[in-house]
């Protein structure tokens, strides 16, 4: 074990023992020298005397944390589980993140960290997204990944998870920044995504492994999401949304912010529309975003340097496509990303085509569209468009 590794083991001990929300404390500790020297002082029981009065209690905790703790053994155990850590200033530490104010001193990760040389975009948005948001997240996730862009997000429900899943399906890299230890999967329903990230991308967190998710841990992790990327893309957000915390962080860190617009009346697009009004970049297709990213890099807009074919259809693995025609085509035109009830569709049909459609016939056509993957059934009697 190198000296550096040894020191990391002590840092890991310190992080675990000191608990969360102690950045100021840790900074002061750094001034005390190496983590190892802190450990030794704690072991000798003299730490409290060396520290400022206000840290008396914490020093007490460190004193106790020395007992029955095998520093090197625990560190090796962690690395054996596939969890690594990088510290600020180390060679492997992501450069973009290192540049931000308040960069985490330690970053735990499993899988791999995003390469510094490649462009990365944070795809973020509401947990409780609409079908419109889902389709957009899938489209952006897929195309960005195909263009070789790294997709960073928070592995949350809704937009985050959908975008990351799409990126991985398209063969790209994605990083999930967690608000808990990297050995925990939160939320549970993203288990599949988590497993896939471990092999095809990575998950990282500033909290030591084993840290359970708590509400207070999530806002700070948003600065890591924006810190790891070149641009932040917001797909759907309510006017007061956690997503906007990430946007604030991104602006502080000097990242570009993009938003996908929505209808003026949609609560879940209100946040995006407001961002655009405040000056965020408006993008409706991934290609527009790619163009902007490239312009930033080369200074000349219009040229593409991304390899591969971007505009291939986005395949949905579980659906088989068949040619739709007749009533199906007519109804597809009436469907929207917003769920519409059967009565509304009936009426829209009458208005559009001048003849009535009975419930049985409507059911038949809609079920067909659902089976073909063009439409989806929500609740009991609501239907929406699933593809653009």
């Amino acid at each position: 074990m190198t000296k550096q590794e040894r020191e990391k083991a002590y840092i890991h001990w310190l992080y675990q023992a000191a608990g969360m929300g102690n950045r100021a404390f840790l900074r002061d500790l750094e001034q005390a020298g190496t983590a190892r020297s802190v450990y030794e002082m704690a072991a000798r029981g003299v730490l409290a005397d060396k520290l400022h009065e206000r840290y008396r209690k914490k020093a007490e905790r460190l004193h106790n944390a020395v007992k029955d703790y095998d520093v090197i053994g625990r560190y090796e155990e962690m690395t054996a589980r596939g969890i690594s850590m990088v510290t600020l200033g180390e060679a492997g530490y992501p450069k973009r993140l290192a540049a931000i104010h308040d960069a985490p001193y330690v970053l735990y990760y499993a899988g791999s960290l995003p390469e510094d040389g490649r462009r990365s975009v944070a795809v973020i948005g509401a947990r409780n997204c609409t079908e419109y948001g889902r389709v957009m997240a899938e489209t952006f996730g897929t195309i960005l990944a195909r263009a070789g862009i790294l997709v960073i997000s928070g592995m949350a429900r809704g937009i985050d998870g959908i975008g990351q899943n799409a990126a991985l399906r398209a063969g790209g890299y994605s990083m999930g920044v967690l608000g808990c230890g990297v050995d925990l999967c939160y939320p549970q329903e993203n288990r599949g995504l988590y497993e896939r990230l471990l092999t095809q991308g990575g998950v990282c967190s500033e909290y030591p492994p084993g840290t359970a998710p708590r509400a207070m841990l999530f806002p700070p992790r948003n600065r890591i999401i924006s810190g790891l990327c070149d641009a932040v893309l917001v797909l759907e957000a309510k006017e007061r949304s956690g997503t906007l915390i990430t946007v604030d962080m991104a602006l502080e860190q000097g990242r570009e912010v993009y938003a996908v617009p929505g209808r003026a009346t949609d609560a879940l697009s209100a946040g995006c529309n407001k961002l655009i009004r405040q000056g965020a970049g408006l993008v409706t297709t991934p290609e527009e975003l790619l163009e902007d990213l490239q312009a930033q890099l080369t200074g000349t807009p219009g040229q593409t340097f991304f390899a591969g074919q971007l505009s291939l259809p986005i395949e949905d693995t579980c659906m088989e496509t068949t040619q739709i025609q007749g009533k199906g085509m007519e109804l597809l035109g009436l469907l929207d990303f917003q769920p519409r009830s059967m009565e509304t569709l009936q009426e829209a049909y009458r208005n559009a085509y001048g003849r009535a459609i009975g419930i049985p016939q409507l059911c038949h056509t809609l079920v067909q569209l659902c089976a073909d993957g063009y439409a989806g059934q929500i609740g009991g009697s609501y239907y929406l468009k699933k593809r653009n």
């Binding site: 009830s341 059967m342 059911c363 038949h364 089976a371 989806g376 009991g380």
Partner: protein, 515 residues
Amino acid sequence: MFSAIISGTVCGIGSHLVQVEVDLSKGLPCFQMVGLLSSEVREARERVRVALKNSGITLPPMCINVNLSPADLRKEGTVFDLPVAVGILTCLGRIPKESIAGTIFLGELGLNGEVKPVRGILPIVTRAKESGMHRCILPRDNAPEGAVVDGIEVIGVVSIAETIAYLQALAEGDEGLIEPAQTDVRSLWERRPEQAPDFADISGQETVKRAIEVAAAGFHHLLMIGPPGSGKTMLAKRIPSILPPLSLQESLEVSTIYSVSGLLHTAREILITERPFLNPHHTITGQALAGGGRVPVPGIVSLSHRGILFLDELPEFKRETLDILRQPLEDKVVQIARSSGVYVFPADFMLVGAMNPCPCGYYPDMARCHCTPYEVKRYLGRISGPILDRIDICVEAAPLRFQDLEKEHVGESSARIRERVLRARQRQAQRFMDLPLRFNADMGAADVERFCGLGRGERTYMERMFRVMHLSARGYHRILKVARTIADLAGEDVIREEHLAEAICYRQMNIREAG
């Protein structure tokens, strides 16, 4: 001096005849009643003594013994007052013995000698007729109810004095003192009130109306999901109006249940002619729902026999309470075991549930719904699986829009929908002629195999749907049953693709795969 009078007692919804034996003998004056009596029966002593006194008859200072036989059957209720009084009067010679032959007596006495109405008349009189009795003397208020039973003379009396006068006249050959009560069941049938709420009152909600029609046609249990104020309760209240009218047989069954519950008399009805619609509040206890008590009486599920049991705000019901429905939904009866025996009450009802789609009520309108997918899921999860398993049709009511209220054309009338339902039911009756099944909803897995055969094209269609729609085996069977009903409504013998598609629309939606 000994006399024996026939009376009866209710047991569950059945009844037993009871022989009231009265003996007057010399000895210390006393009045004893034996025969496994509950306290209200034993109290008959005081009522009879005072009622006789106030009718001008003083009991002689003799030892009076009354036995209610069979002595091992527990006697409940107040029907024994009149028979005990008549027994004593017969012993005393005030009533000629020959006039009480073949007659059953029922009735409660007031202290002034009046005869008051009692519950359970219908089953007891039916039993009396089956046992070969030819006359029934009962409270006049109950007489129309008793007269529903054909082939037995029903005499309604108001007081002890009148009873004595009637029986004395009878012995002298004068039968005309009190006219036997007559109830013309046919005319009762024709006089049925037609002001029941009608589907024509509701504009819009075509999807839910169609689903209700299908549910009514195949007796499928139904779950309506919708935001507050979308008219779920209004719709449910109109379901009885499209169900086939009660047949006489069914009406007697229902009336019997109401009779033993003492509800027939209070409702001032002679027979229940409308399908029951019960709408218990969600704080209802399990006992009130299933029936119970030391001496079990029918619960809400039995009172909705042959009708609708409407449970509004389904997830608000206690889980244990809902789970009680499992047995009646499966067996169509409720069994209540007591040390005195097992009571079986019929409970063949159509379950109609209504609920909000999520705690806030606005899902899937994401602009207004504040619930997380997890909350939505948990809200639906409050209803236990076994109950959901019995619900074949699930439909969502959209919130009403102004256009719906403004619409000029009124909805289709209940009568027209009922015609279609009736036709579909006739097809089912024919199909299940030699089987214990009555409706498509009753079909088990084997019956589905037998009656819901698919053609090759339809089979391929369902194969694909099974895969892409992630159906379960149970869900698949439910869809076939509902499709059978939809085909019956369309008057077709084979199940076609469009029938299957519509049934698929009515399947229970698992909350969509989020994120």
